[in-house]
Symmetry: C2
Subunit: 338 residues, 2 copies
DNA sequence: GTCTGGCACTCGCACGCGCCGAGTGCCAGG
DNA sequence: CCTGGCACTCGGCGCGTGCGAGTGCCAGAC
C-alpha cells in the first residue's frame, strides 16, 4: 500500500501537470507544494509510484507525468468534486432559463458546458424510453396519407408521414386520435405497446389496416428514437492541447462525428453520479488519450439522458466534474418546469 | 490582358498546387503539363502573373502558389464544374432515399457532402420563409396551457408551449384550430400575418387574450426560425491540411460553432447557381484562408435553403462544385417527394 | 518579337554538432 | 527513514554548413 505522503506526492504531480502541461520534477514539486520533505525523498517516492505504474517518464531524465492509472487513483481517492461557486450557479441557471424549446435547451447546454469546462461538450437529447407520452396527434395530409406527431413530456416532438393502405376518413381519424390519446397520454413509453395492441379491433374492418400501420409506425418511432440524437460543441477547444497535434485530435474529431460511438460512450456510464472514464478505459481507440466525464440528467429524479465532456486525460478533474454535475442538475430543473 | 498561354500557365499552377500542396516551379510545370514551351518562357509568364497579383511566392526562391485572385480567375474563367459520374449520382440518390424524416435527410446530406468533398459540410435546414404551412395543431396541456405545433410542407415541425392569460376550453381550442387551419393551411409563410390578424374578433371577449397570445407565438415562431438551424459535419477533414496547424484550423472551428456566422456566410450567396467565395472574400476573419462553396436547394424550383462546404482555398474547385451541385439537386428531389 | 538555353544568385531547409540544464539514481551520513 | 551530495543521462536549442530547387536576367536563335 502506498503511504499517505506518496499519495500526496501523486496528487501534487497531477495538479502540477494539469496546470503546467509539462512533466514535473522532484525539485519543482517541493517548491510549489510544501510537502515538508526534500527533493531527494520525493524522488524516492516517485520511483515507488513509477514502480507501481501511477506515473511515468516520457523520456529518461525528464520529469514524471501521471499515467491513466495515476489519474484514476487521483479521481477515486485524492480529489473530490469541486462545487461551482454561487455566482457560477446563477449564471448557469440564467443562461438555461432563456431557452424557448427543447432544441434550444440542448443547444444552450452544449454551449454552456463547453464554455465552463473549456472542453468538448456532448449532450444527449432526452430519451423517449424513460419519458411519458404527452400527446399523440394525427393529421390528414391526403386521403391515404397521415402524419403522426408524438409529443413527450420532455418537450420532444417526433413526426412521421404514413402512407395508408386504404383511404382513411376524417371521422375515423378523429376516433383513432381520441382512443389513442385516452390510452397512452401520460403513460410510460415502454408501456405503450401493450396498451394499444387491441386497438384495431375497435375499428371497422376496412380501417383496420390503416390503424395497424399507424400503430406500428408509432412503435417504430419509439424504438428508432432510442438510437438517440445528440449535440456536440466546443470542438475548437481541442486546439488547446496543440502540441501533439493532428495525431491527437484527428481521431477525436472522427470519433465525435460517429454518433454511435458517442452514444455508446455515454451509455456505458452506469453510476448514478458523475462518471469518469480515463484514457484507455474508453473502448473507442480514437479516444484512448482523452477522458470522458459524464452524468445522467432528467426532469424528475430519474435520468432520461446523459451529458458530458470529452477532453485530454490531462484535465482539471474536480472542476470539470463539478461543472458537469451542476449543469446536469439545472438542465433537469428546466426540463421539469417546461 | 493576359495571353491565352498565361491563362493556361495559371490553370496548370492551380491544378498542380491543389494536387501536391506544394509551391510549384517552372520546371515541374513544363514537365507535368505539355505547354509546348520551355521553363524559361514559363518563368516569364509567371513573373507577369505575379505582377498582376494572380500568384505569389511564399519565400524568395521558392515556387509559386495561387493567390485568392488567382483562384477567382481560375474558378470564373478557367475551369468548369465537373459533373458527377453516373455511379456517383446513383450512390447519392440511394443514400439520401433511405432517410426517414427531415432530420435524417439533413444528417445524411451532411455526411454525404463531407465524404464526397472530403471537406467540412454545412447544411441549412429548409427555411420556413419560402415554404408553406401544412398544418397548425393546438393541444391543451392544462387549462391555461397550450402547445402549438407548426408543420411545414418541407416536413419540418416546430413546437411551442404557450401559457395563456386565461383558461381556454376544449371547444374554443377546437374552434381556433379549425379557423386557423382553414386560413393558413397551404399558404405561404409570409402571407400568414395578414391572414390571421382579424382572427381574435371572431371569438368571445374572454378568449381573445388567449387567441392573440397564440397568434403572436405563431408569428414569433416564424420569425425566430428564420434564424435557421443548421448541421455541420466532416470537421475531421480539417486535419487534412495539417501543416499550418492550430493557427489555421482553430479560427475555422470557432467560426463553425457560430451558427450565426455560417448562416450569414451561406446567406450571402445570391447567385442561383453554385457560389464560390474565396479566402478574403469571406467576411468572417476566421475564414480568410478558406473557401466556401454553396448553393441553394429546394423542393420545388425554388431554393428554400442553402448547403455547402468549407475547405482550404487550395481545393479542387471543379470537383467540389460538382459534388455540391449534385447533392443539392438530389436533396431537392427527396424533399419534393416526401 | 518571341522563345530558349545557360548561368549566377538566393534562400529555405535539413543535418550535424556541442553545449546546457533539468532531472535522475545512488550512496553515505545524520 | 530522511537528507545532501555527486556523477550521469539525455532532450532541446542555437549555430554553422552544404545542398538544391527555383529564380531573374541575358545573349543568341527562329
Amino acid at each position: 500500500m502506498l503511504s499517505e505522503r506518496r499519495l500526496q506526492v501523486l496528487r501534487a504531480i497531477v495538479q502540477d501537470y494539469v496546470g503546467t502541461e509539462e512533466p514535473v520534477g522532484s525539485k519543482a514539486l517541493t517548491e510549489r507544494h510544501n510537502l515538508g520533505v526534500s527533493p531527494a525523498t520525493v524522488r524516492n517516492d516517485m520511483a515507488a509510484l513509477e514502480e507501481e505504474g501511477y506515473i511515468a517518464q516520457p523520456h529518461t531524465s525528464a520529469g514524471r507525468i501521471p499515467t491513466d492509472k495515476g489519474y484514476r487513483l487521483f479521481v477515486d481517492k485524492l480529489a473530490g468534486v469541486k462545487p461551482m461557486s454561487p455566482p457560477e450557479r446563477r449564471a448557469i441557471q440564467n443562461f438555461l432559463e432563456g431557452a424557448v424549446d427543447l432544441d434550444d435547451v440542448v443547444a444552450r447546454t452544449v454551449r454552456l458546458l463547453a464554455q465552463l469546462t473549456r472542453q468538448v461538450a456532448v449532450v444527449q437529447y432526452p430519451s423517449l424510453t424513460r419519458s411519458t407520452v404527452r400527446h399523440v396527434e394525427l393529421l390528414s395530409l391526403a386521403p391515404a396519407r397521415v402524419m403522426l406527431v408524438l409529443i413527450t413530456d420532455t418537450g420532444r416532438v417526433e413526426q412521421r408521414v404514413i402512407d395508408c393502405p386504404a383511404p382513411f376518413g376524417e371521422t375515423s381519424l378523429a376516433d383513432l386520435r381520441a382512443r389513442l390519446n385516452s390510452r397512452v397520454a401520460g403513460r410510460r413509453f415502454t408501456d405503450v405497446p401493450s396498451l394499444v395492441e387491441d386497438l384495431p379491433e375497435a375499428f371497422e374492418v376496412e380501417d383496420r389496416g390503416t390503424v395497424s400501420t399507424v400503430l406500428s409506425t408509432l412503435l417504430e418511432t419509439l424504438v428508432e428514437e432510442n438510437e438517440e440524437r445528440l449535440m456536440i460543441g466546443g470542438t475548437a477547444n481541442l486546439t488547446r492541447f496543440a502540441h501533439d497535434f493532428p495525431l491527437t485530435i484527428r481521431p477525436v474529431l472522427e470519433a465525435l462525428e460517429e454518433q454511435v460511438v458517442l452514444l455508446k460512450l455515454l451509455g456505458e456510464a452506469k453510476d448514478p453520479g458523475v462518471t469518469v472514464r480515463i484514457g484507455h478505459e474508453n473502448a473507442h481507440e480514437g479516444l484512448n488519450s482523452t477522458s470522458v466525464v459524464s452524468v445522467g440528467y432528467g426532469s424528475g429524479g430519474e435520468a432520461v439522458a446523459k451529458l458530458g465532456v470529452v477532453g485530454p486525460t490531462r484535465m482539471d478533474y474536480p472542476g470539470t466534474m463539478g461543472a458537469v454535475r451542476a449543469v446536469a442538475r439545472y438542465v433537469g430543473q428546466i426540463l421539469a418546469e417546461s
